[in-house]
Symmetry: C2
Subunit: 519 residues, 2 copies
């Protein structure tokens, strides 16, 4: 935190004035279910519906009993339990354990065995002692879940309990009523993919665009950029994008870099994580916002911050005009241990400078426009000269001249080559198994975008179905942070329990469908 | 609950209008301590002070660390923790475990090994997940404790925590400012015993006189009677006694019996426990209240309820005029598995009828007075004829003609014999080891009262010192529900963890000291 330079209170205040209202929806569980170990099921856990949740009020639970409720869909909100003592008054408090799961694995596996390297505190369970019965208890924390397991740890020898009512007050700042229906002719599976993508976006929309409502529950600029794109096609909560931009702009790091992520509570503050690509995306996100809204006032106010990100990005160039690679820098691009970031970073720089140039012209900042234009030529030329490998016909990255999907995809998006050449590059890539693969929906998004940009809309749709469509077959209610059809327990965190199963960067199928496939 | 006959709403409303204000006092911990196993220490647990709690704010705790705070005295109230992330912002929630103990054993022993037959839910521990750091967390439940163990279960790899402030907002409806200081000449150990007794009473005084603030946290008439006596000498919260009387009177059981205990929440209701002696104590408690306050309006309104308790008590007499004994009835007297209740019950009936008679005369209920007077003669005569054992010179109880402390003490308090004879009876009892012994401070109270009534004030003082004085030597901050100097882990519940260590029926040394030993 010592890296934070200063806070632009005017910007932060502007952001705080834009805190949206949260819409509440009361959701009751659909079924009483049992989560069973099953090697054939996704991640090894199957859910069997036992009976309708309407049967719950009539059931009596003794000390040691437990049951699991299925809310039928992914929820983000607050849980309320109406609890009734049975057979006698409650002559001792009631002790319950509640376990919340986005996925069956979270109900089936024991959190005490968790050994991932993200904090165990992300796993959602509580032991609750209820002093007054009968009573209604609303847990104070927000949970993200489809399933809730309720274990009756302690009653007394005199009483049992029943649950006359259990419900979730689901919240989101996204107003579903605003989203337009897809045309009737749209294939059902695309309608369904669109619905799930919108649900993903909606459940990440709170007082900021969160990356994931279970984890990390905060604003990351990489996620924001994609959420904003999906938002312009759906919820049109454009003021929420504006709020997020002002938050990032208002709390830069020590040299003016936009931080990678930020927190809203106890008061807005930025994390000290700086990611090369994410900072540059401030310019790209501002560009998308201006394109979608035409809000010139915001553009004018935030343009200096965007410009600074490009200047900072350019400072990392070596004498050849190539982004320096070393052991210590951070650039995200994708979750992949072996991925070298140099080539992708170069491309993200170009991609962002192209958008920065348009913004400079829009605000008539001629000096900046000229400077960006001349530098843009330099970094594109350098990319072609030093990162293009004639022999393999791929862009390479780092000293080891690594070929990766990330580098090719971003070079396509950076439009270093023309459309036809890009299309061929992507075709070669698909036929080159040695390339470092894609790992996250985040990079898959950019792959789809790259295919569309290369006039390969049919292939883009095939790839969307092969990836998000597979998630759907594996039971996704909302789209996931991580997914590899070949390794379904994949987690970069050492445990798939802590993966986020409703993740902003996975919400863009609705953006693609609505932007590119409506006609 | 099906045994409840009706609710007298007028009475209950009168009681609810008397809900007292709770006084708040902020208490900060005194020391950071360590609880160590030590066979020589009370219950096998010793407390070592490590350093002043003023050192706490400067300490940094990592995942897996823990510490124990000693608040220096017994507290009933709400815990607030100010928590600061250290080394980095908190990029994941914080998971803490808090364990509250009235006594060191509750900190030293593992609650998961608890196997008492009262609910595990009485043991005071919580797992708390804190989503926002830095922050101040006030736990919503009320706790009863001197010690709090705080375990840092989960942070993240990036941050540790410190605790800039920890405090308890202690609550009681007893106003300590009202209590008069003892005269300077009073011996120090009696002043100290008085102080601890008052603290015991104070920590049981909330919106009713609770039996114990850790357990059962409710209004029992047996405790109320003694609390009221102590209250008249100290806090003078006479309206709280009145409130409690109206609650019992307003919610009788099916045949009009006053219930043994009642609850305030979610709305006032009586437990279906009927105890022969406790119901009769409604008359005795009303008598004491009237003696202390002269509040004739309340007496007149509640007299019919008191009268009914005596009528119900009399219905249990057999043709000889002796309280029937069988396997199924409930009469408390003391916690002792072998204790036969017949003799004590007979004495409690006589004791209560004597007071009932005075109340009947005070409200000029001549008919009742005459009836009680005539029946009183009958039950006293029957006691002398059928329960007095000429050979052993003791009162006996039940078919086995059991000799117990409880029976003798209550026969003394019932004044079946005169003062001199009673004094001799108590002397014989002390020299008769075969008698079923006393088990609780509740019965010890009655022993002290019996000694004083028998003009044995010096011996009463010796016995008070031998019992409550021993508790003090064993470290009592407040007087305990259960204490046996010969068996310090005594519990009628299968585990001393669940014993109440601040218990109303143990608070009467202040009553004795102030009523009988001031001059």
């Amino acid at each position: 935190m010592e890296k934070i330079k200063f806070v632009n209170h005017e910007f932060v205040n502007k952001a705080e004035a834009l805190i949206p209202q949260l819409h509440e929806t009361v959701i009751r569980p659909a079924h009483i279910v049992e989560v069973q170990q099953d090697e054939a099921a996704f991640q090894g856990w199957r859910v069997d519906a036992l009976e309708s949740a309407e049967e719950l009020p009539g059931k009596i639970f003794k000390q040691g009993d437990s049951f699991t409720l299925d809310f039928g869909d992914h929820q983000v909100g607050y849980l309320t339990l109406a609890i009734q003592n049975v057979a006698s008054n409650a002559d001792a408090p009631l002790r319950l354990k509640l376990t919340f799961g986005e996925m069956p694995c979270e109900i089936g596996e024991n959190f005490e065995d968790y050994n991932g390297w993200l904090s165990r505190s992300w796993l959602q369970d509580e032991i609750v002692t209820v002093d007054i019965l009968p009573g209604e208890v609303t847990l104070p924390r927000r949970y993200t879940f489809r399933y809730v397991k309720i274990e009756v740890l302690s009653t007394s020898i005199r009483y049992h309990v029943s649950f006359p009512d259990v419900y979730c007050t689901a919240i989101s700042s996204g107003d579903a009523a605003v989203v337009q229906a897809l045309p009737a002719h749209m294939p059902e599976h695309l309608k369904e993919m669109d619905r799930i993508a919108i649900k993903t976006l909606q459940n990440c929309m709170h007082t900021v665009f969160e990356d994931g409502p279970k984890r990390d529950r905060r604003l990351w600029i990489g996620d924001l950029r994609l959420q904003a794109l999906a938002n312009y096609e759906t919820f049109r909560s454009d003021d929420l994008v504006k709020r997020c931009l002002y938050l990032f702009a208002g709390m830069p790091l020590e040299d003016g870099q936009v931080g990678g992520c930020l927190y809203e509570k106890p008061a807005p503050f930025v994390d000290d994580i700086y990611l090369y690509d994410y900072a540059l995306f401030f310019a790209a996100t501002l560009y998308d916002y201006y394109e979608a809204t035409g809000d010139k006032e915001t553009l004018q106010e935030l343009w200096p911050v965007a410009k600074l990100q490009i200047e900072i990005g350019l400072k990392r160039l070596d004498e050849r005009g190539i982004v320096k690679d070393d052991e210590t820098w951070y650039c995200f691009l994708d979750w992949h241990e072996q991925l070298n970031k140099q080539g992708g970073a170069q491309a993200v720089l170009i991609y962002s400078m192209r958008r920065g140039l348009k913004l400079a012209l829009a605000v008539m900042d001629t000096e900046a426009a000229e400077k960006i234009a001349s530098q843009l030529e330099r970094v594109i030329d350098a990319a072609k000269m030093y990162l293009w490998d004639e022999a393999s016909q791929f862009f390479v990255s780092g000293e080891q001249r690594q070929v990766s999907w990330a580098t090719q995809i971003w070079m396509v998006l950076a439009e270093v080559f023309g459309q036809e050449e890009n299309a061929k590059l992507l075709e070669r890539l698909a036929a080159y198994p040695a390339a470092i693969e894609m790992s996250t929906p985040y990079l898959y998004h950019h792959y789809i975008e790259a295919l569309i940009l290369s006039n390969r809309k049919d292939e883009a749709l095939i790839q969307m179905n092969a990836y998000w469509g597979e998630m759907m077959k594996d039971g996704a209610d909302t789209f996931w942070e991580l997914y590899n059809p070949k390794d379904k327990k994949l987690s970069p965190y050492g445990s798939n329990l802590v993966n986020s199963y409703c993740h902003a960067w996975s919400c863009t199928p609705t953006y693609f469908i609505r932007k590119y496939y409506l006609s």
